[in-house]
């Protein structure tokens, strides 16, 4: 069982290291990830929203509904822990 797991880990590890070769260099401006929507947000955050932090603008305004869901996930985690571990009583 252990040798099987080791073989699986080595196999996946070799594939991942193989894929690292094709990744763009760190901070490469020509990388696909920085080409399309990134530049769009850099250009449009200040006229659209008027705050300096692009990350917060995307998090709270462009993707506001998504962030509401994230807060609800954390709230659900709190309620779940309370329901499972809190003894005898109400929330």
């Amino acid at each position: 069982m252990k040798t099987k797991a080791l073989i699986a880990v080595l196999f996946i590890g070799i594939i991942l290291f193989w894929a690292v070769e094709d990744m763009p260099a760190f901070g490469d401006p020509e990388a696909p990830a920085t080409q399309y929507t990134g530049q769009l947000y850099v250009d449009s955050v200040l006229p659209d929203i008027g705050i300096d932090n692009i990350v917060t603008a995307i998090l709270a305004s462009y993707r506001g509904f998504d962030t509401l869901g994230e807060v609800l996930v954390i709230f659900t985690a709190g309620i779940s822990v309370a329901l499972l571990l809190r003894r005898g009583g109400r929330l």
Binding site: G50, I51, N53, A60, V71, I74, F75
Partner: protein, 143 residues
């Protein structure tokens, strides 16, 4: 643990600064590095430090277990309330620009984002503290 005067004194000094820093991180979210999630977790970390230094019963005496859950609800209500406010002002859900256009106040968009971040911070802090109480407190009811 209770007799270690160094730990108690240092954390008595450190906790207010950690909490002020957490509030700074929350409020600073619109103009620099920061945000509600990070600030809320830093705020909850100050309560972990208090639990380590002063013991669980002493902290429990000050923070109500059910009240902290209501605080989490209030945080989400601030966020969702601003979303429904945009709905009432004739926009889409969470469309801050509709509130800004309806009220005619400049830069309201950033202020609303700050309010939303504050709601996130309150909700995350309260949920984290509730989880810490439930896991570290052996499940007993708060006093």
């Amino acid at each position: 643990m209770m007799e270690n005067v160094v730990i108690r004194t240092v954390s008595r000094l450190a906790v207010p600064f950690i909490q002020i820093f957490a509030l700074y991180v929350i409020v600073h979210g619109a103009s620099g590095a920061g945000g509600g999630f990070q600030g809320g977790v830093v705020f909850a970390a100050s309560f972990i430090l208090m639990i380590i230094a002063f013991g669980m019963p002493n902290v429990r005496r000050r923070i109500d277990n059910r009240g902290i859950m209501w605080l989490s609800v209030i945080g989400i209500a601030i966020y969702a309330g601003i979303g429904f406010l945009a709905l009432l002002m004739g926009g889409n859900f969470l469309e801050y620009a509709a509130i800004e256009a309806a009220l005619g106040i400049p830069h309201l968009h950033g202020i609303l984002i700050d309010l939303v971040e504050a709601g996130i911070g309150i909700a995350v802090m309260a949920a984290m503290v509730s989880i810490i109480f439930d896991i570290a407190g052996n499940g007993e009811e708060s006093s």
